[in-house]
Every structure is written in structure tokens, then in C-alpha cells.
């Protein structure tokens, strides 16, 4: 398995050899930032295209195919459109908060994006409480949404933001519980170690068998809710609130919300791939030496991206099948069904682990 540390170490020693330490750090930081932004943009574009195509296929349609071959340029055109659109300032809005809100959302989204382990050694933020950090940072996004709803001085926005607040805070509990259950299994909160462990011992979803599979399904549901995506898209519920909390945004301000929504979905899928499906770990089967040999040639990043897109497919499938829930149904689902289930699963997982009832 290719270790990305070789590249980073080589770069570090190279820079250190002729630059002072502070300059090295500065250059490295800039490089990392560039990489994050590029990856963020590239994956957003891929995802938007993918979502449109896949949803169209579910609906007996072809999806975008007018701009460029197979509609490949459609997303670029949309981005261009959004960037050139005027940003409208309304009277009676709280200007400062109104413009800060999208940045909060995009910042939260980018920071969580940095937590994803792309490959062995290729992880931007990695420390021993990585999972905890991820959960903490991802909650910042909701502040941006609440601010957007409040500052817009629009009734739709306000209702949308309030729904969003209730929704995200509720579902964060489930996500936390699921994460805890998986941490029980792994015994570590560091994403890199979780991946490394899965390469050595097998994927968590297999190691943890029944409780892990259930956790995975619940995670998909809670994740969709966490990303404000259908059937949990109440905050924007276009048939009720026109566009919910971002009703009053235009141009790139809206674009940030749009971008963040898609990337949150990607991150959600990425975390699922990491903690359940082995992250960058190749699918190794004990005993199949030749198979394992070939699999190890494929870089970990490829595995990671493949797994992410597999999870994304599942999320899209869910998204494009169900009608939207009502706000009380949504909270019922969380508090009456999801939370008791995840808590039970946490206990079951803990019991499994303590009695050694896991596959290693």
C-alpha cells in the first residue's frame, strides 16, 4: 500500500533544507489550503453532476445532456452563472449577519472536509480525538443556517431556520451515538488509526457484524437528515417555504449554501466510508493471497473515493424515493425511533466488544 507520508516528508525535508522553519510551515500551509480548496471544488462539481444524472435515471429521464458531451459542462455553466449573478442586498436585513452566515456554513463544511482520510498519510487534520473534533466542527454549520434565517427578515427564512435548528441538533445525537458505538469497536478516535486498524483487521462493518450493519443504515438516515437533504429537507421544503433559510440569498452567497449542502453530503458519505467501510483500506480477503496482492497495488485514495461514491449512491437512492417528512414526523422519527435504537446499539456493541464477540 502506497504511503503518502513519503511525499509529504520529502517535501518537508526539501523545504527545510534551504528555508527557515517558519517559511516552511507557511508554504506548507498555503499548499494544503490550495489542495483543500481544489479538492472541495472538484468534488462539488462531480457530485452535482452525479446527483443530477442519477436522479434523472431514477425518474426515467436522461438528465442534463445539452451543454457539452453528456451535459458535462452544465455544472461549470451553473457555477459561472452563480458567480456572475448580482448579490442583492435587501433593506431591513441585518447586513452583517446576513453576509457572515454563508461563510460560517462554508467554513464548517471545509474544516470537516479536511478531516477525511484520503490515503495512508494523506490526511490534513489528524489527531487522537479526530472523531470528536469532526462532530464538534460539523455542528458549527447550523449556526450559519440559523443566522441566515434570522438576519434575512423573512418569514419563510425564519421558519426554515428554526426547523433546521431543531432538526440538526436532534439528529446530531443519533450521529454521536452511532459514532460512539463504532468507537467502542475500534477503541480509537483517530481517523487514521481507524483506517489502519481496518486494513489490518478487516472492515468495521464486517468486524462489528449485526450491530455495525444496523449502525450503518441508521447512519445513512441520520446523515441525510444532518445534511438537510430529502426526505429531510424541511428547512428549505420548496413546496412550503419556497427556499427556506436561503430564500433571500442570491449569487455566490446562495452558491455557498448550495456548495456546502453538496459537500456535507460528500463528507457524510466519506465518514461512513471511513468508519464502516475501511476508508482507504483495500478489500482484502484472508487466504486469497493473489487477490490481496493485486488489491494492494491500487492506491488507497482510489478505494476511498470508490467507497464514498458507493455510499453516495445509496444516499441518492434514498433521497429520490421518499416524500418529505413533516416536522413533527421528523422529530418523532428521531426521538422515538432513532435515538432509542442507537442507544440500544451502543450497549449491544459494547457488550459484543467486551465479550469478544467480534470478528477479527
Amino acid at each position: 500500500m502506497f504511503d503518502f507520508n513519503i511525499v509529504t516528508q520529502w517535501l518537508d525535508t526539501l523545504l527545510m533544507s534551504f528555508l527557515p522553519a517558519w517559511a516552511t510551515v507557511l508554504i506548507e500551509c498555503v499548499l494544503v489550503a490550495l489542495v483543500i480548496i481544489t479538492l472541495y471544488a472538484v468534488f462539488a462539481i462531480v457530485m452535482i453532476y452525479m446527483e443530477r444524472k442519477v436522479c434523472a435515471w431514477f425518474q426515467c429521464r436522461l438528465g442534463p445532456d445539452r451543454v457539452g458531451p453528456w451535459g458535462l459542462l452544465q455544472v461549470f455553466c451553473d457555477v459561472l452563472k452563480m458567480m456572475t449573478k448580482e448579490i442583492v442586498n435587501f433593506r431591513n436585513t441585518d447586513q452583517l449577519l446576513h453576509h457572515v452566515a454563508p461563510f460560517l456554513v462554508i467554513t464548517a463544511s471545509m474544516t470537516t472536509f479536511s478531516c477525511l482520510p484520503w490515503n495512508k498519510g494523506a490526511q490534513i487534520i489528524d489527531f487522537n480525538v479526530g472523531v470528536f473534533f469532526f462532530l464538534a466542527i460539523s455542528s458549527i454549520g447550523v449556526v450559519g443556517i440559523l443566522l441566515a434565517g434570522w438576519s434575512a427578515n423573512n418569514k419563510y427564512s425564519l421558519i426554515g431556520a428554526m426547523r433546521s435548528g431543531a432538526q440538526i441538533i436532534s439528529y446530531e445525537l443519533s450521529i454521536g451515538m452511532i459514532m460512539l458505538a463504532m468507537i467502542c469497536l475500534t477503541g480509537t478516535m483517530s481517523f487514521s488509526e481507524i483506517c489502519q486498524q481496518q486494513e489490518n483487521l478487516g472492515w468495521n462493518i464486517i468486524r462489528g457484524h449485526v450491530p455495525a450493519v444496523l449502525c450503518f443504515i441508521l447512519y445513512l438516515i441520520a446523515g441525510n437528515a444532518e445534511c438537510n437533504r430529502g426526505p429531510f429537507d424541511m428547512p428549505e421544503a420548496e413546496s412550503e417555504l419556497t427556499a427556506g433559510y436561503h430564500t433571500e440569498y442570491s449569487g455566490m452567497d446562495f452558491g455557498y449554501y448550495y456548495l456546502a449542502e453538496y459537500m456535507n453530503l460528500f463528507i457524510c458519505a466519506g465518514i461512513a466510508a471511513t468508519i464502516f467501510l475501511g476508508g482507504w483500506a483495500a478489500p482484502l480477503v484472508p487466504g486469497w493471497e493473489q487477490w490481496n496482492h493485486i488489491m494492494l497495488y491500487v492506491p488507497g485514495a482510489v478505494w476511498f473515493v470508490l467507497k464514498v461514491f458507493f455510499v453516495l449512491m445509496l444516499l441518492l437512492w434514498e433521497r429520490w424515493t421518499f416524500p418529505r417528512l413533516r416536522i413533527d414526523q421528523l422529530l418523532t422519527l428521531e426521538w422515538k425511533y432513532m435515538l432509542p435504537m442507537t442507544m440500544t446499539l451502543l450497549v449491544v456493541m459494547a457488550l459484543c466488544v467486551s465479550f469478544g464477540f467480534v470478528w477479527n
Binding site: C60, S239, F322, P323, R326
Partner: protein, 523 residues
């Protein structure tokens, strides 16, 4: 069979008592209320009442005593639907209905001068185009009679000062057209709805007074665009029966088949739009995919997809396309059954939809009769209001079908009525399609169609309820008064009643399942 009506004339003072006694006799459904300007005789109203048990009708005419300041007693305490009908008559004729708690204008702007349906109306009072936005009053108007015989106007605010009022519409994805609900919310709970209509009112009834009968036909397809066949059928039938023309068996059968195809079309669109409103975009597109097949059939035979222009006075415009029978068989034997199965799997059975629709927006049988909610909305509450059974017309007396009714009157039942009706419509078509009788498709008509003097009323079962045509003729080539009983107006009117106490999201479900079409409301 003549459809001429001879309204019983009642003095304005005894109107309320007469109608109340008629209601006690069993005429418990106010089918339509038509304002008319009889010129010298004065302004007045024709009430058309129906016995829900038998479908029998009676008509009561009352003329206002005073032409300058016309007023009549309101009957909205007897029938809730009268409230909105009276507002319409007030709007167009300026007849004040005493004790109607909310006698505002309904379609025209608040600042409109004059009453356009009066025969002496002067068009020049209003500008050709209004350049400033429409003022929307926050006050409900109520007219009462003082002791000295003068009409007194009192204004009460519609919403309280602390009400959190959200505008649903006029540009809103799920109001199914340009409709404006001012919705007062308590948290997410709806406490009151004030529907504001008329954004796309085209004055079809007024225009018709200057049109010849064939020209009037051209406008009917533009009212309820999902009931184009049936609306046109109603007007054609009204004029034909008034003139004493018998159309051939072939035409009767063709019209029946077309009406049912239109009903399937409408109900599939109902399903699609409801799914879309509830966020199930995929189900929405499945519905549209199947509806396309019906539109293709229409396109081949009628030459139009939405604006069909098919029924003509005395017949139909074209003979059936040679492929018609084959296409219809494919539709009712393959496309629709497959589609319905899919709709039920993806949407009907879905636990999310079930919980969103069950027990939401309950309208009891008494409510639907009082509010005049016919069609699927009425039948979901257990009211047998299907005109195809009550007063059979065209070829409906020779086919067997079930009138679908449910008991609960909630959103789920309203939805199920329509999906089941698709199956029944297929069944009706199946009975007729293979033996369409031979015969002329168009009776010989005089080049200029004149309806003999008199008052006529005909109604058909439209896609979403009873669609009636009230026609008053002075023997000219143009109608003296042409009034449509729109299916949508009572349905919009009942929204306030149905939505109170439910959540904002339920408003969408209820609006979707009550299934109104705005161009039909704003005629």
C-alpha cells in the same frame, strides 16, 4: 330532454325564509348561485338547489327591490358555500348581501370602480392597465340593515394585530396557480387562512356575453385546463338541449370516452402534483410519464394536448383517429395498470405519506355538502355526489361503474378516491371502446346558432366536481348571461375550514388533495 328551468320567483323579503324551508324539505345543497342583471326588471340572483338524496333540482329567483342600492339577505348561514358565491355576485353586480360576514370583492381589485357585469357598466371608469400594485384590504366588510332601512357597512380586521401572517402565494410552488393564501400561524400551526383570488381572472363570463355560442366554446378549455373536455361538454350539452338538438349515439359515446380520458389525465396529474408538493419528485415524474400517453391520444384525435377544442355544438370537431381504439386499449390495458401499481408502491403505501395524509384536513359529510365540495373531495367524505350516477348524461346510463366513496373525509381518502376513480374510468372506457356506434359526428347546424329565449342549466361531472352551466338567452346569437359553476371556487373556499389547527406542511397536503385548479376559480 329539455334543460330549461323556470325559477320560482320569490320576493326579496321572503327569500331567506323560502330558502330555509326548501333546505328543510331536503334541498340541502346549494349547487350554484348566479347573479343576473335583468335590465328593467332589476338585479337579482338565481339560487339553484339540489336534493343530495335524489339529485333533483329547484331554482329560486329573487330580484332586488332597489336598483341603485341593491341588497338581498345572505344565506351563508344556511350554506357555507353561499359566502363565497355571494362575494362573487357582489363583486360583479354590486348586490350587497346583508349579514354576510365577509362581503369583500373576491376577484376584482379592491380599488375597482363599478360592477362590470351590470349591463349599464361604463368601462371608461377604470384605466386600461393598472400601473400601481393592488391594494389588499385587511378588513372584512359586513353589510347590515339599519332600522331606518339604510344599508350600514361595518369593517372588521381579518387578522389580529399579533398574528404572524405568512403569504403562501401568489407566486408559490404549491398553490397550483396564482392563488394567494394569507395564512396566520401560531408556531407552525395554521390558525386562519384568507384566500385572495382573481390574479388571473379573465372575465370569461363577461366576454361570453359579447361572443356567439361557438366563440364561447373556445374559452371553456381555458377554464379548468384539466377538465377541458368536460367543461366544453357541459356548454355544448347546455346549448344543444336548449335548442332541442339530439346528438347521435356515436357522439354521445365519443364524448363519454373523452370525458373519462380527461378524468384519468386529471387524476394522474393530481397524483403527480401531490407527490411533488410532498417532496416526492420521482413519483411526480412517473405520473407525468404516463400522462404523456393520454396527451398523445388527445393530440392525434383532437389536434391539441391541453386546449383540446374537441366538442362542438351538435357534435365533435373530428372523427376519431384511426389509431384511437388501439391507443386507448394500450393505455387502459398496459400503461395505466402498470402506472397505478407503481404509484401505489412508491407513494400510496409509503409510511411517510400515510402518516402525513391520515386524519389530516378532515371534512365531514355535512361540511362538504354545506361547503359545496363536489367531486373527489365530496365523495371522500361519503357524499354520493357523482352526477354520472345522479343525473346520467351522454352514455353514462349504459355503462356499469362504481361510485367510489370513502367515509373519513381526510386527505388520504381524498387521494384514494381519485386513484380508485382512475380504475373506474378505465372500466367505463373498456365497456365503450370496442363498440362505438356508427353515426354522424356532427349534426347539421345553422351557420348562426341562436338559443331560444329562456333560462337553461346543465351540469356534468367534471374532473374535480360538478361543473354546471347556467345560460340565459334572449333568443340572440349571443348569450344574455352565461355562468359557470366552477368546481374550484368552493374547494378554495373550504381551505380555511380544512386547514385550521393543522401544521403549515399540512396546508400543502390538504391543498393538494382538495385539488383545485386556479384558472377554473378565476374564470
Amino acid at each position: 330532454m329539455s334543460n330549461q328551468i323556470n325559477p320560482q320567483i320569490v320576493a326579496a323579503a321572503e327569500l331567506h325564509a323560502t330558502l330555509a324551508s326548501l333546505k328543510a324539505e331536503g334541498y340541502d345543497f346549494l349547487e350554484v348561485l348566479t347573479g343576473v342583471d335583468w335590465g328593467e326588471e332589476g338585479l337579482g340572483v338565481v339560487y339553484s338547489l339540489t336534493k343530495t338524496a335524489t339529485g333533483e333540482m329547484t331554482h329560486v329567483k329573487s330580484v332586488c327591490a332597489d336598483k341603485e342600492n341593491p341588497y338581498l339577505d345572505s344565506v351563508c348561514d344556511l350554506w357555507a358555500v353561499a359566502g363565497i358565491y355571494e362575494r362573487e355576485a357582489y363583486d360583479f353586480y354590486g348586490i350587497k348581501f346583508l349579514n354576510n360576514p365577509d362581503c369583500r370583492r373576491v376577484f376584482l381589485r379592491e380599488d375597482w370602480i363599478g360592477y362590470p357585469f351590470r349591463k349599464d357598466y361604463d368601462e371608461s371608469q377604470n384605466p386600461e392597465f393598472f400601473l400601481e400594485s393592488e391594494p389588499i384590504s385587511d378588513k372584512a366588510v359586513c353589510f347590515t340593515l339599519n332600522e331606518d332601512g339604510k344599508v350600514k357597512k361595518t369593517e372588521t380586521p381579518i387578522f389580529g394585530e399579533n398574528d404572524y401572517v405568512v403569504n403562501i402565494g401568489p407566486q408559490h410552488p404549491s398553490t397550483h396557480g396564482v392563488l394567494h393564501f394569507r395564512t396566520s400561524l401560531e408556531g407552525e400551526t395554521v390558525t386562519k387562512i384568507d384566500a385572495h383570488m382573481g390574479y388571473i381572472h379573465r372575465g370569461i363570463e363577461k366576454l361570453s356575453e359579447g361572443y356567439t355560442y361557438p366563440q364561447c366554446l373556445g374559452l371553456t378549455d381555458r377554464m379548468d385546463y384539466l377538465g377541458a373536455m368536460q367543461t366544453r361538454h357541459a356548454l355544448c350539452m347546455c346549448v344543444e338541449q336548449a335548442m332541442g338538438i339530439e346528438v347521435s349515439e356515436r357522439v354521445q359515446v365519443i364524448r363519454t370516452i373523452m370525458d373519462e380520458l380527461q378524468r384519468i389525465d386529471s387524476h394522474i396529474l393530481f397524483f403527480s402534483c401531490l407527490a411533488q408538493d410532498l417532496g416526492a419528485t420521482t413519483a411526480f415524474l412517473y405520473g407525468f410519464r404516463d400522462r404523456e400517453e393520454i396527451l398523445k391520444i388527445f393530440e392525434k384525435t383532437c389536434g391539441g394536448r391541453l386546449i383540446l377544442n374537441y366538442n362542438m355544438i351538435g357534435g365533435v370537431a373530428h372523427d376519431l383517429h384511426p389509431d384511437f381504439v388501439k391507443d386507448v386499449h394500450r393505455l387502459i390495458d398496459e400503461v395505466i395498470p402498470h402506472g397505478l401499481k407503481e404509484y401505489h408502491e412508491i407513494f400510496t403505501g409509503n409510511v411517510i405519506f400515510q402518516t402525513r395524509a391520515k386524519g389530516v384536513g378532515v371534512l365531514s359529510k355535512d361540511d362538504v355538502i354545506s361547503y359545496g365540495c363536489t367531486g373527489g373531495t365530496g365523495r371522500a367524505a361519503g357524499w354520493h355526489c357523482d352526477l354520472r350516477k345522479l343525473r346520467p348524461y351522454a352514455a353514462y346510463d349504459r355503462v356499469k361503474f362504481n361510485e367510489i366513496t370513502f367515509e373519513n373525509g381526510d386527505s388520504l381518502d381524498r387521494y384514494m378516491v381519485r386513484l380508485k376513480e382512475i380504475e373506474e374510468s378505465c372500466d367505463i372506457i373498456r365497456q365503450l371502446i370496442d363498440n362505438i356506434p356508427e353515426g354522424p359526428i356532427q349534426e347539421k347546424m345553422k351557420p348562426i346558432i341562436k338559443v331560444p329565449e329562456g333560462t337553461y342549466y346543465s351540469a356534468v361531472e367534471g374532473s374535480r366536481g360538478i361543473l354546471g352551466v347556467y345560460l340565459e338567452s334572449k333568443g340572440d346569437k349571443t348569450p344574455y348571461r352565461l355562468h359557470y359553476r366552477s368546481t374550484g371556487l368552493p374547494l378554495v373556499n373550504v381551505m380555511d375550514k380544512a386547514c385550521r389547527g393543522h401544521l403549515l406542511a399540512d396546508l400543502i397536503t390538504i391543498g393538494g388533495t382538495i385539488d383545485y385548479i386556479i384558472p377554473d376559480v378565476d374564470r
